[in-house]
Amino acid sequence: MMSSRLRVFLLWLLLMCAGVAVVANSRFSTDISFFLPSRPTPEQQVLVSQLQDGSVSRLLMLAVEGGDESQRAVASRAMRKGLLAGGQFLSVQNGEAAATDGERDFFLRYRYQLSPAVNDQRFSEAGLREAVGDTIQSLASPMGLLIKPFLAQDPTGELLAVLEQLNPGAQPEMRAGVWASRDGERAMMLLETRAQGSDIDGQAQSIERVREAFDAAKAGMADGGGAGLSMQLSGPGVFAVKSRESIKAEVSKLLLISTLGIVGVLLWAYRSPRLLALGLLPMLSGALAGAVVVSLVYGTVFGITVGFGSALIGEAVDYAIYFFVQSGRLGLAHWRRSFWPTIRLGVMTSALGFGALLFSGFPGLAQLGLYALSGVVTAALVTRFVLPTLAGQVHSVPEPGRWVHSVLALLGQAYRLRIGVLALAMAAGSYLWLERDDLWGANLSALSTVTEAEGANDGRLRADLAAPDARYLVLVTGASQEAALQAAEEVGDRLDGLVHEGVIGGYDTPVRFLPSAERQNRRLAALPEPSVLQARLAAALVDSPLSASKLGPFIDGVASARSAGALQRKDLDGTAMALAVDAMLTRSVKGWNVMLPLRLPSDESDMPVARLEAALAGSGAVFVDMKGEFDTLYGGYVSEAVSLSLAGCALIVLLLGLTLRSPIRLMRVLLTLVLTVAVVIAGLHASGEKLHLLHLVGMLLIVAVGSNYALFFDRAAGGEPLDAATLMSLCVATLTTAIGFGTLAASRVPVLNAIGTTVGPGALLALLLAAVFVYPPQRR
């Protein structure tokens, strides 16, 4: 017959294997969706889709520095050639004229579908006379050479009318025939990757191709002329790849530091590899269970969540410590009766703290909460039900050393520090009060892994390239593609008025390349039959220098446009216009979205938001300020985190109140926690840390985690004297928790760093202050 030890062990092993199988099949993600709202408003939805897959998310900006002007230009040309040949980039621009004959042929072919000038009037006898007359006069203008080759097939100048809509706005400086920075010292390029912004592997490959192309360009230059050249690269893809690399590197680093530190402490406390191995079981089970639950609930596990595991290790290992140290001396039954309730209460307060985060609309935060909650509960359950069976009766922990007895003696005198600590707390409180307006001020970018230097570099490249930052957009929606395009045309007509008045500098719209079928058909319906056209043309051009008899290609062109019908999206395939249309016209769950990026009237001016909103009123279109949305998003996260933290704390207080059943004891525990939080936050702010959302969450976790330690001292206040073994277990447990969370403080990922710098010191301080305020004075 199988022993119960073996049964329990096998059951545990089975669950662990299942867990490993789940985690092995999980999708891990390091992308920006960690920060993006799980229940977005329509405006936020624009933000989300632009950040993940918008054309701006696929832009890479590049600068070649060093060498001289012509060396930089040679490198720029060589890179463009190499990158275009590779096929991983949708466009590679460096100011050299692209092979735009394809574009021109496309516009020429579909000129009657695309030209905004085509209407009934245009093709009447009088309209033809005027249009052809204009075109002939244009021959003497700077546009003349453009028109001349197409005069016979397009005498009404529709090609020009199409092209005139596409004025590109600001352009970078030119040096030696390629784009250059404003000071002329760097050659500039703008690339658009084929890989989507959310495809980090694809972005990484694209970046690798760029580096290879640069190296090849350098190597290909005569006489080692490329030796002095260096390259700078920036853009959303670069940040995404860097962020993933740093999170990947951090996660293993953090887990290693945390594990080594905790194993060291445990070995010192247990002096037994067997106990160490057993002690790690609840922690391993907890870490695994956290990952499994997150994976099952969310489908995707964020890299940052795994990094948070190092904190969980420190917290989950506590229960095993209590078990070994306390039950070794008292026996299992006594431990269960006497200590387990205290531990259980600690688990519950922790669970409430982490659990409050579950309700956050900030997906990263909700995931951290779920991970920690399942981890802590699992670790406690394994300690309670699996560990005793596996450990058996024989687990002698070394006697507490002399230092423990000394500390125990000192503990009774800790109350003497009350005045001093209160004074310190008052100082911290006053400091916080004085600085109250200056405490919080960060925005969402404080949570991103992009450093200030990287952000500044990105801004410089963007300014030199006059690259769009797509801050302002108009969002138009429709049930079908056609409906969305029609809506975009209607909004475009309104925006045209604003452009004309100089209120906005301009805007982009997909309907320049793909008008709605309705509008195209209206244009085509204005085209007369060949015989009618011929007759009108002959009458219109009687006195013109251009004889109607030479315009056979025009008659044919109009006839073939009539039979070709409306231009479809698939007709754009293979052209640069397909890309432009796809970037602005996207399919969503509910229908189709059109995004119209707006340009400012000039670099320095502000967007006249009120005018825009007035002009768009009633059209159903939504004006979106991406930066404003970011700020609103962050503000929403903060106010939500405040209410969640308050709710979490309130529940913890309620739980403690119900369990302790003594207002005095409750007040003492709470005083400890409040003072701890105040001192930690004051310390962080005084040391120059910029406080943000995650520090706030850290405050909640101080309350949730720190209360565990206060509870043991509270037992003594409740009449169950603290013995040396319990004190030792408490010290070791606090130390491991502080190591676990403190490790996060070494992280360069702001989310983890903030939690680490808050909770690590907070756990230690909570223990110290609990000794001062909660532990009963031993008056001699």
Binding site: A140, G144, L146, K148, P545, S547
Partner: protein
Amino acid sequence: MKRFLRLAVLGLGLGLVASMAHAAYSLDQLMADLAQNKGGRARFVEKRFVALLDKPVVASGEMLYTPPDRLEKRTLLPKPESMVLDKDKLIMERDKRRMSINVSSRPEAQAFVESIRSTLSGNRQALEAHYRLEIQGERTGWTLTLLPTEPEIAALLQRVTVSGSQKQVQRIEYLQVDGDRSELTIEVIEP
């Protein structure tokens, strides 16, 4: 699109120049005289001969040159439009529409601009980067011929012929490869 605009720069060559040129027997003398040009205002008439058209297209207006690199051409008839070359930026306005392009973005566009700008400022070196120069006649009736040396330009343009008498550039003719041509006659209003 950009290519078209750059081609359009060719048009710039078709109307320009209110310069006072001293006729010279040698190229260097002509250039030295042109370099002392202080600029000024002039009337122009531009005729464009296109094979497809039965009659030439005519436009007229005023030009203003400020050495060394600002040139304004205001067409008044038959329809108002304007074109300003300021350093490397070319701004065109017509029917309230405005277009701005950077002419140095393409070698051939650059070449067309140089044919005017460097002639006006007497910059022989810049001219010879794109053209072979020939001078004929005498001070009272000189002719400077620019023959493109770069294949991209030679594919479009046969030659540019600038002629003048004494202090006055009187005529600029662009002859295109397809035989179409345009001629610009210039009369100084004020020096």
